[in-house]
């Protein structure tokens, strides 16, 4: 499978993997904002999650509703094996392109 995904999609998948069991939309957004320093709009995040799910790169479990969510359920995301493959491909593609440029790019 040779799917390439966008930078933001990669970040979202990586954040979900970083978060492990506790990966749901709010925590993903927080992690991206804290670690990458990138401001993420909620709408964009939800649409990206939808898209990744449609591409079968992630799936989710449904948590039981809690009172502080007004009785609404929560989706907890996991990256699927296909998602992991795509991430690997992206990484190796990037590393190939980085090869030989460390000196130049590292300096700047």
């Amino acid at each position: 499978m040779s799917t390439f995904i966008g930078e933001f999609e990669q970040m979202v998948l990586l954040a979900i993997m970083q978060l492990g069991d506790g990966a749901y939309a709010i925590s993903v957004r927080q992690l991206l904002e804290e670690r990458v320093g990138r401001s993420v709009s909620r709408g964009a995040l939800y649409r990206t999650l939808d898209r990744l799910q449609e591409k079968a790169l992630l799936n989710y479990d449904v948590d039981a509703p809690t009172p502080d969510r007004g009785g609404h359920a929560r989706r907890c995301f996991q990256v699927t094996p296909e998602g992991v493959d795509v991430l690997k491909q992206s990484r190796s593609a990037l590393l190939t392109l980085w090869d030989g440029l460390e000196e130049e790019l590292g300096r700047s």
Binding site: Y24, A25, I26, S41, R42, G43, A44, Y46, R47, D50, V62, P65, P67, D68, R69, G70, H72, A73, R74, R75
Partner: protein
Amino acid sequence: MSEQRHLQRRPPVWAERVLRWSLPAGILRESVVGDLREEFLHGGLRSRMAYRREAFSISLRYWGARLRKSLARGGRGSGPRRGGGSMNRFFHDLRYASRALLKRPGFMIVSVLLLALGLGATTAIFSLVDRALLRSLPVVQPDRLINVYTTCRRGFPRCSSSYPDLIDYRDRTETISDLAGYTWYPASVGEEGRQAELATVMLATGNYFELLGLNPAQGRLLQTQDGDEAAAVTVLSHHYWRRRYGGDPSVVGRDIRLNGTPFTIVGVAPPGFEGTDLGSDADLFLPLRSGALLNVGAAASPGIFENRGSRWIGTLIARLAPGATVEQARDELLALSEAMREEDPDARGPRSVTVDESSGYGLPRAAREEMVTFVLLLMGVVGMTLLLACASLANLLLARASSRRRETGLRLCLGAGRARLIRQSLLESVVLAAAGALAGLLVAQGLLRALGGFQLPGGIPIEDLDITLDWPLFAFAAGAALLTALLFGLIPALQSVRLNPADAVRGDGRRLEAGASPLLRKGLLAVQVGMCLVLMVGAGIFLGTLYRGLGVELGFPSQGLALSRFNLTLLNYEGEQAMSFVNRLKEQVEGMPQVASAAVATNVPLQVGGHRGTFVEVPGYTLAPDEELRVEYLFVTEDYFETLGLPVLQGRAFAAGDREGSPPVVVINESMARRYWQESPVGRTVILPGDISAEVVGVARQTTWRGLDDDPINFVYLPLRQSPDQSTSFLTLMARARSGSGDGGDAEALLPLMRQQFRQLDPQLALSSEQTMGDQLRTVLMPQRMGAFLLSALGMIAVLLSLVGVYGIVSFLVSQRRRDIGVHLALGASRGRVLRMMMSTVLGPVTIGLMVGLAAAVLLSGSLSAFVFRMSPQDPATLALCAAALTLVAALSAWWPARRATRLDPMRVLSAD
């Protein structure tokens, strides 16, 4: 906050609702709503505002995604996904509706045009009405303000007041808490290093601004002591401050020269306030007593403030005392005026007073009633247009629905839900109404711009009113159109889904027609025809008046006359100096090869404003009690009658010898001669104000003066040379072009040449107007021109609409009754008979429409009587002509589709079943 209460905190209900509505049903909706709820309670969305913003932003993302997806799908044959959320279906239906409309561009264009014209005209005219009549003064409690006028004689209820009158009205009444007076003058404004220009100056009593409750934008406004001391101070109007000084605040305290006298600028009036008259645009406000420093008009006459007989303060405005009503004030002022007359019977005290509510801008008094009628007329016409547009739209929608029954049937057969079909049809109406509203907005803006070129009765240029589009009103009109579209989209939709789909698909005409829609359509057609006739009659009457007005006998030939108005007082020309300017000007202009003759006068016929009236005595004629001999008078040079082309019927015109020092002479007009003398008045005397007895040397022919339809006015012409001090403020140079071919020569071409002559004599002199007598005639006929323009345009649209309506119904019936027609033809009916049969289907509605229209036209045209001139507003010829024309149009538009019916091949029609 306890944990329990904290959990009960709820996010904004509507925002959450929108969010739910925007998201596809299922776990996605659940989890997103839950996430936001959680963040609202614990996280980064604590404020309700932030929640709303985020909810709307997420909703927008999902809508956008849907729209992109549905556009990408192209919708070809793809229905909505099952369970795909209501938004999905909505977008699908919206796309379907738009495509269905675009598939029949003719229908779409006609409907949108109809709505655009109806909405646009309504909004533009109502915006005008709102600004001209309904909007109140930008002052404190405008509903507590009244206007007070002194009645000078019978039939003239609103004359100017004298200063002693003003003081009495103010001080001797309980129902009035304060009263101010004002009058207008032009003044020449000059400053070091700047070009002199004309400005409009309002002379007002010192309490004027205080009475209105206004606050200054800069510095201060006029105060009572300014008036008492005749201080050389002025307040700029906001727009003048912006225009001349670029809104520079440091202008306060600076000097400005008015007619050569320095005045100190003490402040700037609040924005939007330019005086209390409609269309008035005061540039500067001055204390009433300081008018003497301007050296112009009555305000400069010595003793004017003590003279009860000198009525020169144009308008008095008063504020009612707390609790007092307009009626109480009127009663009190009437009683006071009676007392004043009794106290001092010789001093020509006020005959009576007139008290008006000043709820809106005080219109110039001559214009008030005429304008109200005119504007109401416009509103009526425009309201009718909106109604007509709605009726036509309804008819179009019904026609369209009929032609689509087959399609509806097919879709029902294929399993489409009835609710869905109805919704789609309603959505089409909404799309149509939205497009119409958008186009209507453009039409309204364009119309407002076009109307700027016209004037309201009373000579107020519409441009000066700064009319902006009235948005609430536009919303109202658009709402009416939407409602029409929805209603007449719904009726046929409900009918068609009740059909037996099989009948619809087979196209069985008779069963299809069983609904109420043909009857409804015929009813609407009758309404259309009726309203169309009313508009046509209105247009016909205005056009008739315009035609008669342009051809009216003015008493002099109007072609080839060029007029330039100027004001010598502004540049401090006085007496002999002014006279010699006039003489040199006249000589130079007469010396031009293009000019046949030239004259200077204080006034010319058909001029707006500047009329002068006075009272004279005729020895030997005894006035009846209550009778006054009021005359219009004007000062003219000796060539006046020759230049104007006004024949002197008896005696002589003025001669060069009638100058200062020679015995006073006058020329009077025909109506005065007939009324006050049994035989020829030439050689008799008239006693002018100041006990000057003047000899009547000639009688000039009657001429129209203010308007085309005025009653005969008594006229006294005086030689300008005999009274050089009197009248140098408003003068008109009149030149008649030398005619090459006998058609009166080109007056338009003379104006720039005349301007050059002025410039040669005094480059500082600014002309206050330049126009031809033809222009002036057109100004006088402005209401008729505007009425004729609007009603003709709307009438033409109405005729077109009726044409489309009749054509639509007949062609619809022809297509629906093909089978019947085929049977008739097969059984040997003649083609003529079939033609008659089809045409007769619209006979009923057209006849009813014509009759109702005629009745309505007769009833409504009474409101035109103020503008109709030398013809009856119920002119039978116009009524008959319009009705005949409309009948012809209806017959032609029925004949065209009916003719198709006669060309059907019966064999083919019958075998098609």
